[in-house]
């Protein structure tokens, strides 16, 4: 399928596409990824906190049945393949956005897919906090809320940043997949040109750009995580 990849025709079309469609597609992908991650963090962070703080012996123990229900829901959402989940949340997208196609509409399935993942990542970050430091805060008369907001979260910021970076790159991948349901962005260009029209060079260009985006997100995220960590001597 890659024969004639660099024929004059193919190259001309790719260049044309780079000039016209791709810049906007990059923006769409960037925007969908960042907004979805931000919303998924907004939902997933509190849930992740509850997963740690709410367990038996945690700073804010919750009823056992509630913790079980929370865990089941998170595991359930995480087990649904994204491709299916996208279709399953159509009614929700229609309710919230008014449509199921387009860039903004794909934010809905992305958030639904990502927040349980982020809840688990937050959970693992918060579990890294030294329980002795939590005990020290309790010994100073900190309330459970103060322990969460002033000890557990600030102390795990470096780990949270690197985990959010992992989520960001995963969501970027998902957002490309949403090209199938008309999600826009680089994913849609890759599918439209590569899968429907057999213009493989354009598809490859789109993929390379996705790789570049992942590299940028990962580099920036890692750098922020390292820079924020005051445990490292620098």
């Amino acid at each position: 399928m890659y024969s004639g990849l660099f024929s004059a025709d193919s190259v001309a079309q790719a260049l044309q596409c780079l000039k016209t469609e791709i810049p906007f597609a990059i923006w769409e992908t960037f925007y969908v990824t960042v907004v979805s991650t931000a919303l998924a963090v907004a939902v997933g962070l509190p849930l992740g906190v509850l997963l740690v703080a709410g367990e038996k012996g945690g700073v804010l123990p919750l009823p056992g049945w509630l913790m079980k229900a929370l865990n089941v829901v998170i595991n359930l959402l995480r087990s649904i393949p994204f491709l299916i989940l996208m279709i399953m949340v159509f009614p929700l997208s229609r309710l919230l956005i008014g449509t199921t196609v387009g860039t903004t509409a794909t934010i809905v399935p992305l958030v639904v897919a990502a927040f349980p993942f982020i809840a688990r990542l937050v959970e693992s970050s918060l579990r890294e906090v030294d329980p002795n430091i939590v005990e020290a805060a309790a010994s100073m008369g900190a309330t459970p809320l103060q322990i969460i907001t002033r000890v557990m979260i600030p102390e795990s910021v470096p780990s949270l940043l690197s985990n959010v970076t992992i989520a960001l790159t995963t969501i970027l991948g998902y957002s490309a997949m949403s090209g199938i349901i008309g999600g826009g962005g680089l994913g849609q260009i890759a599918i439209n040109y590569g899968y429907y029209r057999y213009k493989y060079l354009v598809m490859l260009v789109a993929v390379v750009l996705l790789i570049v985006l992942v590299q940028i997100f990962q580099t920036v995220g890692t750098r922020l995580a390292v820079k924020s960590d005051k445990r490292l001597k620098h």
Partner: protein, 334 residues
């Protein structure tokens, strides 16, 4: 004043129940430096955590300055904890905050205005000898410096009681001496009651006025440090003061028994008792271990002797005739 009455703590785990503390009774006077010493697993850390209710006692009461800690509501307890602060073996500083922010932390919790908190924190860092480390992060400090910051943090809410949980166990001997000096100064300057949990004899000798020896969840003995060290009444006490650890291989229990001899003052330490025992009574004792140490200006000594069974009674009688000396047969191998 801290009054601990009939305090017991039982942990129930999957395999059954563990009696961590059993019927503890202690009174710690205001301004005292009170040591609680014991081997690992004796229940020291549990006991100190029962004072500020980080561990809820299974039964018994802890009364601090007339307040029954167990009867407080959670809000009252949080308030009370500002008067009973704590330092730890691993310092437990917030690693993502500067030293100044760490010292500000307890004031932040209680709603002190930021500017006032920073001013007080700066003073406290000066008090603990780290005025130039305000902007440094804990990871940039040595263990001793981190413990100083932790002490400054513990003093931020003007506590009446400072609980030290193995506060020097992670530090080298020099740094330990400096931190103990600082704690002593704080006790003297600010009149704060200090409770010191440790497994190190030297820590108790260095700063405590009173000591309780904890052994398998009970108080084996307690009193003035000088008195307890001079004549430890309990087996656990003697083991701590004169740690003559003996291997099975040192003497043959079938043929020989062991005597522990504890003596005090220079005149007694000057008596060549093993030589005299050999010459006058023809008892051939071998010395397994011997130590002397100055406590409160007097010299104390301890010796572990191995003596043939058939001469044991005679040896005991001979040694008992010497003044300022206690002798006992060691039955249990420790």
């Amino acid at each position: 004043m801290i009054e601990i009455r009939h305090l017991s703590k039982t942990f129930s785990s999957g395999e059954g129940e563990v009696n961590a503390l059993h019927d503890i009774n202690l009174t710690i006077a205001d301004g005292d430096v009170y040591g609680i010493i014991g081997m690992s697993g004796a229940g020291k850390s549990t006991l100190v955590r029962c004072i500020n209710m980080l561990e809820k006692p299974t039964s018994g009461t802890v009364v601090v300055d007339g307040r029954d800690m167990g009867a407080l509501t959670t809000a009252e307890l949080r308030q009370a904890r500002r008067d009973i602060t704590m330092i730890f073996q691993q310092f437990n500083l917030l690693m993502q905050r500067t030293c100044l922010q760490n010292v500000c932390f307890p004031m932040e919790l209680s709603g002190v205005k930021k500017a006032a908190a920073r001013k007080r924190a700066t003073e406290l860092l000066e008090l603990v000898g780290l005025p130039d480390k305000a902007g440094a992060y804990p990871a940039q400090l040595s263990g001793g410096q981190q413990q100083r910051v932790a002490i400054a943090r513990a003093l931020a809410t003007d506590p009446k009681v400072l609980l030290c949980d193995e506060a020097t166990s992670a530090l080298d001997p020099n740094t330990t001496a400096q931190i103990l000096g600082l704690i002593r100064d704080i006790n003297a300057k600010l009149g704060i009651t200090v409770v010191v949990i440790t497994h190190q004899m030297n820590v108790v000798k260095e700063i405590c006025k009173h000591v309780a020896i904890l052994d398998r969840g009970t108080v084996a003995e307690e009193g003035l440090v000088s008195a307890v060290f001079a004549a430890p009444k309990s087996e656990a006490g003697r083991r701590l003061v004169f740690p003559g650890r003996v291997d099975e291989t040192v003497s043959d229990p079938a043929r020989q028994g062991q005597l522990r001899v504890v003596f005090r003052d220079a005149r007694t330490t000057g008596i060549p008792m093993v030589a005299r025992m050999a010459r006058e009574k023809n008892i051939l004792a071998s010395v397994i271990s011997a130590t002397t140490q100055p406590i409160d200006g007097e010299t104390y000594g301890g010796m572990l002797l191995s003596i043939p069974h058939e001469q044991m009674a005679e040896a005991k009688a001979f040694l008992s005739s010497i003044a300022n000396l206690t002798v006992e047969e060691v039955s249990e191998r420790v």
